[in-house]
């Protein structure tokens, strides 16, 4: 290993062998010239080839942009630093420099496996280094994301939840992208994202239609493009419509119950409710009063209600 100044032209700027930066184009840390001088980049000499960058992609970029033609570098030979050790060296330096996003973690895992690190060592030793839990499922999730369309990868490198992206991987590309754009644009919380995915998936499976065709139906299209609705309002409307479609008998029962209830014109102090999912054959009557007179009035009303055909009808709906 030696320390010397190297011409920028002698460095292969398109060799990303030891890089795991994602996306490649991202805002890098600004380095003053003095810092670059005292914090040399690390290069590797390969016979008859330009230098490979092991660590310091940002600094080389910035020196080039400042139209300087030389940079101070620590230079290793291939014999001194194998591929795997060069990658691990960069990994250690970078992980302490900036937080890694999920795609970068995936790239690191993939490259280390490629360099021959065993799956067991990866799970037991490297996942904790990447601040990830030590189990195979986690390793697999980070590899899955690398195979996904670029739009989704970029979103995951940002704030889009990895777990949701991995779930989308179970769908055909067109369906996954359609769902992704819906969720990415509306930005619901992760639980609601999960719910929308499950509902659309189950509806598409039952009705044997593609998810993208379901989401592109006029009903959903109109909600998504309604300028009078905020994102949370759109999410709620979409969830509601999907629920209705996914649970038609339950929805019909709910509608019949509430329509009949409305016809009873109950005062606000008297409420009739059904059990969760109508599992009971009974309904609950809740009365609120603040004086014996009000109670008597409600009592009379309840007596009158008991003779109404609508009460029978209400009970028949459940």
């Amino acid at each position: 290993m030696i320390l010397r100044n190297i011409k920028i032209d002698d460095i292969n700027l398109s060799d990303y062998t030891f890089s795991f930066r994602y996306p490649i184009e991202q805002n890098s840390v600004f380095y003053f010239d003095d810092v670059i001088l005292s914090f040399p980049v690390i290069l590797r000499k390969v016979v008859d080839c330009p230098f490979q960058i092991i660590s310091g992609f940002d600094r080389v970029d910035q020196i080039k942009q400042r139209e300087k033609d030389e940079i101070t570098a620590l230079i290793y030979s291939k014999e001194e630093l194998s591929d795997v050790n060069a990658f691990i060296l960069n990994f250690y330096l970078e992980k302490n420099r900036k937080p890694l996003n999920s795609v970068e973690k995936g790239i690191i895992i993939k490259k280390l496996l490629h360099y021959g690190v065993s799956e067991k060592k990866m799970i037991d030793e490297y996942l904790p280094l990447l601040s990830l839990p030590s189990f195979k499922g986690c390793l697999d999730e980070h590899l899955i994301i690398l195979e996904m369309p670029e739009d989704i990868k970029i979103a995951v490198a940002g704030e889009f939840p990895l777990k949701i992206a991995v779930k989308l991987n179970d769908f055909k590309n067109g369906d996954a992208l359609c769902l992704f754009h819906l969720l990415y644009d509306l930005k619901p919380g992760i639980n609601k994202m999960n719910e929308i995915i499950t509902l659309t998936h189950e509806i598409s499976q039952r009705e044997k239609i593609e998810i993208k065709n379901l989401i592109n139906e006029r009903l959903f299209y109109n909600i998504i493009n309604d300028e009078n609705l905020s994102n949370p309002q759109k999410v709620e409307k979409i969830r509601g419509e999907l629920q209705k479609r996914r649970y038609p008998v339950l929805t019909k029962t709910k509608n019949e119950f509430h329509e009949t209830l409305e016809l009873l014109h109950l005062p606000p102090s008297l409420k009739i409710t059904h059990s969760p999912y109508f599992e009971d054959n009974t309904v609950k009557l809740n009365a609120q009063f603040s004086s014996p007179y009000e109670l008597k009035k409600l009592g009379n009303l309840i007596l009158k209600l008991s003779e109404e055909d609508l009460i029978k009808k209400l009970l028949e709906t459940i």
Partner: protein
């Protein structure tokens, strides 16, 4: 006709203290080519490097049961219970039904055979003294299929031998196989032994009940049991709601009653699809294209996912009506259902478990006493 897939264990694990048991010797004779691993007592097969459910169904583990052998059927809270008791000679099953609760339930997923499975005399007499004058209904089909591995384990004949002529006790062997030869070879049929078959339309069997025998095979096996003199049971469980279910269940019931003798059917249970919510992701991941989960499943009172009540009622009513067309005296009951649903299906309300148990006792009296 579709016979169930024969079971060939990939590995056989044996606890040291079970090694000399006959059931182990017979199995080793049969599967000499399988890898055999002897474990210390209390040691369990290590499946940590594998997908537990998949691997568990390929491995066989012989050990002694150090816990309770005869247990009350867990049923489910909030439902009418029939006070059934379960034996656990085997834990887990070589069949692979998509909806099976065992995918979630067992701590040790390896098919485990308890070599001391007949050592329950003390437990049985204690149970009998707890319920004097009542029939005890005991089954071995809760934690595994009762008959699917009988070709080498031969557990059922041993259980029959143990239960035969035991007063006040009924043994029910429940299966999705057609493997009844070992039962038919028993010296004679016994009144208190019921051979029960889970039934479903063949489309459901093919789609959901992997590795099991086809419907025609099962009904043929049931017929042979009846002809040998046994009473049989039929379990429509789980009933699945899907487009075309009415026609399929109509044809199923028609087929059953055109092939089986109704007077030799002891009981018929109806139970619709239900499972713990945690099983859903397991089914999704193991059977991603399976349409089972697209039904209108909602969390019931016991938090298990089950069809919306109106759907359950329509399933039960339809099947009950079809059964009644062929046999007005059939003894039909609902498995793991709420009293609200009982009331809507049968038109009468069961106040508590005791009422159902009383009805079972009457039926047993009527059929076998």
């Amino acid at each position: 006709m579709r016979k169930h897939n024969p079971f060939i264990p990939e590995k056989i694990f044996i606890s040291k203290s079970s090694y000399k048991d006959d059931i182990v010797k017979n199995t080793l004779k049969r599967f000499g080519k399988s890898e055999i691993i002897i474990l210390k007592d209390k040691e369990k097969p290590d499946y940590s490097m594998y997908k537990p459910v998949e691997k568990g169904k390929k491995w066989l583990f012989f050990t002694k049961n150090t816990g309770t052998i005869l247990k009350p059927c867990p049923c489910t809270p909030t439902c009418i219970s029939c006070r059934y008791f379960v034996l656990n000679p085997i834990l887990n099953c070589n069949f692979d039904c998509a909806y099976c609760f065992l995918q979630l339930y067992l701590n040790n997923p390896v098919i485990t055979v308890h070599t001391n499975f007949t050592d329950f005399d003390r437990e049985l007499s204690s149970l009998k003294s707890s319920y004097p004058g009542k029939f005890l209904r005991i089954g071995s089909g809760q934690w595994s299929d009762s008959l699917s591995m009988d070709d080498f384990l031969d557990i059922s004949p041993k259980l029959i031998n143990k239960f035969k002529n035991l007063p006040g006790t009924i043994l029910e062997l429940k299966t999705k196989s057609s493997m009844v030869d070992s039962i038919l070879e028993c010296q004679k049929p016994y009144k208190n032994i019921i051979i029960s078959f889970s039934v479903n339309p063949d489309t459901i069997i093919k789609e959901q009940e992997y590795k099991t025998a086809g419907l025609l095979e099962r009904i043929d096996a049931a017929k042979r049991c009846q002809e040998r003199g046994y009473l049989i049971g039929l379990h429509f469980d789980p009933i699945i709601h899907y487009p075309g279910w009415e026609e399929d269940y109509y044809n199923l019931i028609k087929y059953i009653f055109s092939h089986l003798e109704k007077k030799r059917i002891m009981w018929i249970s109806l139970g619709s699809l239900r499972f713990a919510q945690k099983l859903k992701p397991v089914i999704q991941s193991r059977f991603p294209k399976n349409p089972l989960l697209t039904g209108e499943l909602i969390p019931g009172k016991d938090k298990k996912l089950r069809y919306f009540k109106k759907i359950r009622i329509s399933l039960y009513r339809f099947i009950l009506n079809q059964i009644m067309r062929y046999d007005k005296d059939a003894f039909v009951y609902l498995c793991m259902e709420t009293k609200e649903v009982w009331e809507k299906v049968f038109g009468f309300s069961l106040k508590n478990d005791e009422e159902l148990i009383f009805r079972f006792d009457l039926q047993i009296d009527k059929r076998i006493m």
